[in-house]
């Protein structure tokens, strides 16, 4: 009888553990970042990175990040969405969200492919661009996730 109970307990533990993993996000920042660094080489070198930690809520959220660019310099923006358990959209604009006439320069949903978690944006602008993470609302507001963005700049002129 003890053996049966032991086996049943083990099965219960495995299922509970699976359930826990399912509701948590994969936020191993260093791994997510390293996956992006590969896509910089050989043309670009590392410049900086930004981690955005996100808690899902009952409302859709828009997080805006301003990223300055410079005249005559070539930059590459890389995004790893693997740390987001629910679908997230990334839109990049030439103006901040308070401006009505802003133009979208990039939209993740237009490029999204099943199984792909790394996306690249090479801006043509030479001023500040505005990255928007559009986080869907969920029925489970304790869920968390993270987005990693790596920026590289071109090495040779």
């Amino acid at each position: 009888m003890k053996k049966i109970l032991g086996v049943l307990g083990l099965i219960a533990l495995i299922f509970a553990s699976t359930a826990f993993q399912y509701s948590s996000s994969n936020c191993d920042i260093r791994s997510l970042k390293n996956e992006l660094l590969i896509k910089l080489k050989p043309e670009y070198r590392y410049d900086s990175y930004k981690v955005s930690r996100i808690t899902y809520t009952g409302k859709q959220q828009v997080i805006e990040i301003a990223a300055p660019l410079f005249e005559g310099e070539d930059f590459r923006f890389l995004f790893n969405i693997a740390g987001m358990p629910n679908d997230v959209d990334i839109k990049i604009y030439n103006q901040k969200k308070s401006k009505k006439n802003r133009t979208a320069l990039f939209s993740l949903l237009e490029q999204k492919e099943d199984g792909k978690n790394v996306y690249i944006f090479d801006p043509q602008e030479n001023k500040t661009i505005y990255i928007n993470y559009i986080i869907p609302r969920t029925g489970r507001p304790d869920k968390t996730g993270c987005m990693v963005c790596v920026i590289g700049c071109k090495t040779a002129k």
């Binding site: 009888m1 049966i4 109970l5 049943l8 307990g9 099965i11 219960a12 299922f15 509970a16 699976t18 359930a19 399912y22 509701s23 920042i29 260093r30 970042k33 070198r45 590392y46 410049d47 900086s48 990175y49 930004k50 981690v51 955005s52 809520t57 409302k59 859709q60 959220q61 828009v62 997080i63 805006e64 990040i65 301003a66 990223a67 300055p68 410079f70 005249e71 310099e73 629910n86 679908d87 103006q95 901040k96 969200k97 401006k99 001023k127 500040t128 505005y130 990255i131 869907p136 609302r137 969920t138 029925g139 489970r140 963005c149 920026i151 700049c153 090495t155 040779a156 002129k157």
Partner: protein, 278 residues
Amino acid sequence: MQKLTIKLAALLIISSLLYACGGDEEIITEEAITEEVEPTDMELLDQVEYILPSPLQIAELFKTAGLTYIGDLANKPENADKLNSKYDQKLNFGVYSADMAYCLMNDQTQQSINYLSTLRKLSEKMWMTDVLNTMGLTSRLEDNVGNEDSLTFIMADLQMQMDDYLEENGMGSTGYIIFAGAWIETMYLGVKVNENEKNEKLISRLSEQAVILDGLIKSIQQSDEDGDYTELIADLEGINKHFAGYSDESEEAFTLSDEQINGLSLDVTALRTKVIGE
């Protein structure tokens, strides 16, 4: 008793199964919710976040614009011994990082190694010993003397190690203060080289820094929960007044006038003197 135990175990398993399998249903529901979202249900977070470039990137911009090397401009390594507060150490870690980049980009490798030693001392004072000790930086610098591309990559590696350390230890605000120190020093080097010999390209790059300063001030403000950086924010806002004519909506490049650049030079020099404690 045994029957009750088996019933409880079975209940536990069924509960686990329901919870684990329930995930799929949840996702379907969430997708449906997402599609139905009305604009009024959107939570537009007021706070804008900022990505700041590396100090190396700014130094490189200035260098390509003609930031020549003047021997006694950079801060003296021995000044690091006078830094007692953590705040001063963080700011000056940025200052010495900028000086190291300035020397590296101008083939002053031995001087760069001296600054690396100063940075190592400061990082120990700041309890960040792992950052600079594990990279074999000195030998990498010595092995690449005269190869500017390789030296730049070494600096970029150093920057990434620093970024990782700060991120993994939840020290984002320290990163902003270090960046502020590096930014002030790079601006100081830029205005002084321009004072020595007027350089339109350098003035253009100095003017462009309006974009960075605004983001830097707001980043420090957002991370300053205890009001520790009020004075620094006020000082940086004083510098920001020189960029009042800048607008990110304008299609035309923003360039400071001669009068404005003179004013900027005076204020940057005064702030830098205050930061290094001279």
